[in-house]
């Protein structure tokens, strides 16, 4: 019996140690792109390309209060969508409807953002440490970057993608991710080749999301749907609490 417990402890320790490493490594990655000690606001310019269908563009105002897990997104363009918005607090996401009546509905945070290839969760603060554990790692060259590639698997089922691969440089910045379904099917690839440094944190200059499933075969070649977005007008000025209320969306709705 004694040997059984020793064996059990020997088996358990590497897993426990790996889990501690996961939290430490992923927390460092999260910390690089999160604003826990201030509010954060930015303007997002988004371009979605659907092969054979054309390009659509959106401009979005983004307001975040990472320490309270709150964020607001408000569409500024195109005109047909201006004033539409989301409020997210933790797991709850509010969408303000004006038709047939003005009311808020709660919906799953896994929804795609405005039918683009981006998810609402792409714009909230990074929570890799609480959402994933590292199951393996390798070294890989990614363009000019020496990266560590972490294979991640979800700790719970409250997140958008059950499995991920992330390419991380020595400065703990994620340069590329691949998101997978539970069965291991690649769903999308996200590239963040360059960052802008801001108040000791880092914000991607441009993010490119390549949808692995959606697209169209044109002239015999399969073209993926892509969404590109860039963040500008960065600020950490304190935001009024009223921004993170349903009333703010109601006021700005058209």
């Amino acid at each position: 019996m004694r040997y059984f417990f020793v064996l059990l402890a020997l088996l358990a320790v590497p897993g426990w140690a790996a889990d501690i490493d996961s939290v430490a490594i992923l927390s460092k990655i999260d910390a690089q792109v999160s604003f826990m000690d201030s509010d954060f606001s930015a303007e997002v310019q988004m371009t979605q390309t659907k092969p054979g269908e054309g390009i659509s563009q959106r401009t979005v105002a983004l307001f975040r209060r990472d320490r309270e897990q709150k964020f607001v997104m408000l569409l500024l363009k195109p005109d047909s969508d201006r004033g539409k918005g989301y409020l997210k607090v933790g797991n709850n996401l509010w969408l303000y409807e004006t038709i047939p009546t003005r009311r808020f509905i709660v919906t799953s945070a896994k929804d795609r953002f405005q039918n683009s290839n981006a998810r609402n969760s792409d714009f909230t603060r990074s929570t890799l440490a609480t959402d994933y554990r590292i199951v393996s790692l390798t070294k890989e060259k990614l363009g000019p970057f020496d990266t560590t590639v972490y294979q991640l698997e979800a700790r719970h089922n409250e997140i958008t993608f059950p499995k991920m691969k992330v390419w991380v440089t020595a400065d703990s910045l994620v340069r590329k991710t691949e998101d997978y379904s539970l069965s291991g099917q690649l769903l999308r690839t996200t590239a963040m080749p360059s960052y802008q440094e801001f108040k000791g944190r880092f914000v991607p200059k441009k993010v490119t999301i390549i949808d692995a499933l959606m697209g169209k075969t044109l002239n015999g070649v399969f073209k993926n749907e892509t969404t590109e977005y860039s963040l500008s007008k960065l600020s950490t000025d304190p935001l009024p609490s009223l921004i993170f209320t349903q009333s703010y969306l109601e006021k700005n709705s058209q």
Binding site: R82, V89, R103, F202, T217, P240, S247
Partner: protein, 415 residues
Amino acid sequence: MKKMVAFFAVFLIAGVLSAQESSDELFANPEPDGPADTSQKVPLEAFSGQSMRFFESLKVDGYYVTGKNAKDEVVNSPVNALNFGFGTDVRLDKTARAYASLYLAYPNPRKPAETTLYNPYEPPVDIAVSEELTFTQIQVKELFLDYSLGTFAIARVGRQTATWGQGRLFNPGNLVAGIGDGMAAKVSAAVGPLTVTTAFIKNDGLYQVSGDTASIISFASVGTALLTEYSSPWFSTGLSGFYHYNLGEKGSAYVKSSFWGTDFFVEGLGEWGLMGEQSWTGVTGVYREIGGRVKWLKLQAEWLVSGRGNDGSFSVVTNRNLGWNDQTVGLAATSELLGFIGMKPSVMWLHSLADSSGQLVVGLVNSSLAHIDLTAAVSQTYGGAASRYVVNNPDPQKRMLSLTLKASFQFEVKN
């Protein structure tokens, strides 16, 4: 079969390979990391100072409804309707906004025979229409002024629409029901971690009960509602109340959250009339979307239970009193599975456990043509002659089984 599998394999591999190739290209010559440009900031009042915006909308519906009523008689009724809406939206500066939404309609819609403040079973649509070939006068849908009190509070005064309460199928927590038919002053403020909203609602038709002919400044036509909400990362909760001089008080509380990919809510409502009447209502529900990119099922399920004493003058369920244990269940579902051919199937089933009456509607909407929706729907109402859903059948012809074919043309322009 093998060829088909091979074809799909090549198709999938091609997709993955092209994704990989595309992402690799992005790292061929990346822009170096560098400091952010902080010369500009996102304005908090995104639309302040916008020039006057005009908007117009047109909706033309043609229906043909056929079916059988409770006497087994076939009743056919073609219905045509036209709604032309227009309005303006002016944001003078970061403090003030004026908004007007007006419409003309044909035919002249008849007001529902009874609008009940306390009715949680309000039919989703009123399709009762007169047969007169007349348009309405210009009607006001919304006409209000927004005013921001710094970054602390937002006030909205005028005719406005709003819905409180958590239920999508049954919504007894909507304490501001009727706000869209009257005038209201509403103020929302962030107070610490709470959001507090107060509304004073004047609605002569709704609140002047007991034949009260009070003047326009009388409290008899004004209801007061208060909503306080708190949101944490794990759940949201709220308390609301309503008071009216002639009707008494109502209080409501809810908790909602989202986990396991599912939205949950529980809401309770208590009512206290001036003569000591009491009633209570509880509603709980879940909403879940199933599927990946294509949601093959969007499911809403709700259960409502209400009870009250023998006095019918103050009641949650004003039109049908079904006692202390009045339970109703509702199920609604839609699917995106046929979205690739522009089809959207949906089903809604409401069933009263208290009197075994209910309504089942199965519909299919085709939106593949620009601006045009084509709808086919079958509706079955069942229950005894005096049961809730038979009495409250929203079909003015009271058909128990009906087929509706509908074509809608609509567009909206904003500039």
